[in-house]
Symmetry: C2
DNA sequence: GATAATACCTACTATAGTAATAGAGATTAA
DNA sequence: TTAATCTCTATTACTATAGTAGGTATTATC
């Protein structure tokens, strides 16, 4: 796995959106300014994140971007896979498993690659956007909290899709 | 970290040289044939490995390549760093540590990257060429053996630089 | 309904990295 | 001397990376 500059920008933008979650839609320009990112490049990244249904956008005046899910439910592994591809250092988990089965000569090598992938996946699957924007915590504590709370928290916060803002409240 | 095709070829070549260690210098053509690698591309890779003092070459007829160190002493991390750069998913360990100190806003993110790097380094530092060419072992066993024997084994085998083959024996 | 603010879309550029291939030159064992 | 090697320099084709530019569509607000 290699995280590109673009991947870094995606992660930083999403962290920013997570921090400003209560403020509704945030303009591209504000994200770019606060995170110090090239605005036009960021545009392309946000479209990609939108197509992957990780954020949603509002067009026109007062438009902008916001997260579609609670930060507790967005794993860092998901973001990296989306922007920069598989976590494995070579190929992806599936093809590595196939090679381990078929290529007897190099089995040990591919197994090693898979070990590295699994180690990365373990860390990145168990860390969410919420973990990254929280204050500093001991590593053990962070991972434990994610595992415990990641699924259950979203339902507690009354998170609604953007189209329902305002409308749902008076129906 | 990303292992390129070139990195894979390097690893496969070195595993092959490790397997044929007792046979002295091996021709590029034979490595390419046995490992099914593009010969001219392999040439360039071997020069790189030679410049890094990981293998040594003999020119002219009966020439070829061989390892300069015992397979027990060649860590996979070293090979990957050589050919494909740092193990970290973004930047390198040093610059990540610097960012963790300086960039307060993104500290948690860089710390995460460093965790991933450390996990990969732990695996790849503790696996050697010897481990990869040995028969299948349980993972725990492999790592334990490497840790125990990596340094002490080289001195037991009478490993001599290539220039000394034959000569030293009758001096 | 006009206007300004915003996201959206298409195209383009520049640079570097990847994965080779080609061929002539230098060195050495036999 | 010669054949077998490694060595060196160039070149090619393709893809990825990291942006920039500018017009188009949509929407809140007045």
């Amino acid at each position: 796995m290699k995280v590109s500059q673009k991947g870094l920008y995606a992660l930083q933008s999403l962290m920013m959106l997570a921090r400003h979650r209560e403020q509704g839609a945030i303009r591209i320009r504000d994200i770019a300014y606060e995170e110090n990112l090239p605005e036009k490049f960021l545009e392309l990244i946000l479209v990609e994140l939108k197509n992957a249904r990780m954020v949603e956008s509002a067009r026109g005046a007062k438009g902008g971007y916001q997260l579609r899910r609670a930060p507790e439910d967005i794993r860092i592994s998901e973001i990296i896979r989306l922007v920069d591809g598989p976590l494995a250092p070579f190929g992806d988990a599936e093809s590595l498993r196939a090679l381990i089965d078929r290529d007897v000569e190099h089995r040990a090598l591919y197994q090693l690659f898979l070990e590295v992938r699994d180690a990365a996946a373990k860390i990145l699957d168990n860390t969410t956007l919420a973990d990254l924007i929280a204050g500093p915590l001991r590593r053990g504590a962070r991972i434990k909290r994610t595992r415990k709370r990641s699924s259950e928290k979203a339902s507690e916060l009354g998170v609604l899709p953007m189209g329902m803002r305002g409308k749902a409240s008076h129906e």
